[in-house]
Symmetry: C2
């Protein structure tokens, strides 16, 4: 192989991802054609390998500042590599695609710890991020060239190593004459604002605040642990928005900070929620849920109005993530943002479930072509850099 | 850059290494010309950054099966990256070489844990090895392309991830008409046997047993902790070899195992030594030391006779490692191997101190040219593989 590869040729690239919830491995296979963030993308196939409780426990035991040790982390690295390789091989088989047809696979790995803030060590300020899932194992089992370790490159260049999704949002949704917003509603919610005709460095991306996290905590609490979320927003729909509670929630200091900014899950966690609810004793559960749905909607709408609207007249908002499955949330967004066309990424061929794995495939493709794929305006990096490390696969050194 | 690069062009490549003793970072800058294991090599400069006790403590706290945690290991990864980058920049400055003149830097990293044996995890047999020292940090601080994580590639292919030095021994010492032995005497001693005219896959490499480890333990013990080794072999020289003790030491079961084999430091550690010495109470310290020097010599000579001599008539043995500084050891080897010419790697332009960093530079060069550099006969891998991962530096994607 000669690097960079010819970007005019269509190529198949895979992406592998396991999120901080450690539920399983998401895999996506995409066809990419064209150059850099202007490339066109088609999802060929996607799949998820759900972890068994035993496997999940192994991973969680090494996750977090004081978790794990060198021995367990070393073996987990090899193990997650095997799981990722297995997931990819299964996806290829299911899709009838042979490994040698695939240019590369991007692997995000499993994050065990992410510390973007500088700490003083003897002689140097240091930060770090640790993703396991041996790229050598994935390359050996599949024969495919692996690109991995994306976040450390951005952090070495002074960035937070996150968010990385703006590159994909740009690639999928930027438009010459339409100004668009891409909103992802996961545990937290993050927004990428793409003014009409903007370049990659002209986008804005930041966390708006809570996504589903507070609603999920509430569903769990009122169901006595039986429900992890509010299915179809049924509980929210049966309640009434409590304006005083909503106003109290909107006092959260994170909301007033101008972007770029990223929230920690802890900032919108159980402790925060309990603190606010203590000021409103005796509220019925459905009213709390309805208000929390309104809180997510309001924080998104306010963020758009305060931080984005002065730069462009946005026409469309494209929503992805688990939040798209909650009609109360989606209807609330449509009402609050009545001048915008509301759609989901699924309508653009990007299932919410597969979006992060697609992102990792796109980042791998960018690296093999020598295209920087962090967005300094979003991560805070000093410059745009080519992300990640290349583990050569079987065909890597063959002449094209 | 186009991969593979043109091997007919001479190039500068650097290597960075920190051993399991965690004393400091060894850096070497070499000029390489030619293809694969037949390339020619010249050492341009080398240097060591010695760790302060505080830094060493930080590293040792994360080293070993049950040491460290995800938080400390993550930050240590960033920190060791900074230390490695700093060492390289210092070496370049000292040598008057600019970063852009250097094709690549190989970084071994700092091993925290190495577990080549397979362990059963749910669904998969796994093994692993963990080296810290962020390649992204080294690439960003120096602008130079980094090749790192060499051992996992060999292990993913079924090997032990060690020894890697046979590739360098071959490159430096293989000869069309002379059969040579390369012996490294570190804590343990390892031998690479290079029959005249052999190819890379025709060499034999294995640990012969103890190097300096037992002598160092004895020096420490009899000096009340004041001496870490026996300077100039003075203590050994003042004693007499005790034949009964020597015979008892030679009973160690490792010595009879046919190669390939690698010893664990524990197998020739304090516990083993104390066990044997308990059978010979009251021996004077100098006699113990003299006998241990003879033990190292005898194990090397026996290994050559039993495992190597039937394949070729060796003419020369080239010694490297700390053991070359012990004249009792060197004289003993010359006597035991009286038909061989004894020389040191220093006489071939390879200072013992720099040998491992030179190895890492050579491995990085091999990877960028697509040459496999593990030796399956030495590591037990199922096949020869291109080792490591490439982190693109500033000039990586420039057209040549």
């Amino acid at each position: 192989m000669a690097l960079p590869t010819d970007p005019s040729k269509p190529r198949l690239v895979a992406g592998l991802m396991s999120g901080t919830s450690a539920d399983g491995v998401d895999a996506a296979l995409v066809r990419i054609e064209g150059s850099g963030p202007d490339a066109a993308l088609t999802l060929v196939a996607h799949d998820t390998l759900k972890y068994t409780p035993t496997v999940r426990q192994r991973i969680l035991a090494c996750m977090g500042s004081s978790a794990g040790n060198a021995g367990d982390i070393t073996l987990l690295d090899g193990y997650v590599g095997e799981l990722f390789a297995h997931t990819l091989l299964h996806l290829l088989k299911k899709s009838g695609v042979e490994a040698k047809e695939v240019l590369a696979v991007g692997s995000h790995g499993q994050t065990l710890f992410h510390h973007p803030t500088q700490i003083q060590y003897p002689g140097f300020q240091v930060c770090g991020t640790l993703q396991v899932g041996s790229a050598a194992v994935i390359a050996e089992r599949t024969g495919i060239t692996v690109v991995s370790n994306f976040r450390p490159s951005d952090m070495a260049a002074g960035g937070q190593g996150a968010p990385l999704v703006p590159y994909l949002d740009y690639l999928l949704f930027h438009h010459r004459s339409r100004s668009r917003l891409a909103l992802n509603i996961g545990g937290l919610a993050n927004l990428t604002a793409l003014p009409a005709g903007c370049e990659l460095d002209g986008l804005m991306a930041f966390d708006t605040g809570p996504g589903n996290v507070l609603m999920d905590l509430t569903a769990y609490h009122y169901s006595g642990g039986k429900q992890a979320f509010d299915p179809d927003g049924a509980m929210a729909r049966s309640g009434h928005i409590q304006q005083a509670l909503l106003a109290a929630l909107m006092e959260h200091p994170f909301l007033a900070v101008p972007p770029p900014k990223s929230a920690d899950k802890e900032e919108f966690g159980a402790k925060y929620l309990d603190g606010v609810l203590a000021r409103f004793p005796g509220l019925p559960g459905p009213d709390v849920m309805a208000t929390l749905a309104a809180f997510t909607v309001r924080t998104v709408a306010t963020a758009i109005l305060e931080f984005c609207a002065q730069r462009a007249r946005y026409e469309e908002i494209i929503v992805s993530g688990g939040g798209t499955k909650n009609p109360v949330l989606m209807e609330g967004l449509q009402m609050a943002l009545s001048k915008l066309t509301l759609s989901t990424s699924d309508e653009y061929g990007i299932p919410s479930k597969a979006k992060e794995a697609i992102l990792i495939a796109v980042l791998a493709d960018a690296t093999l072509h020598g295209w920087p794929s962090n967005v300094p305006a979003a991560t805070g990096a000093k410059r745009a850099v080519v992300l990640g490390q290349i583990t050569p696969g079987a065909g890597f050194f063959e002449k094209e």
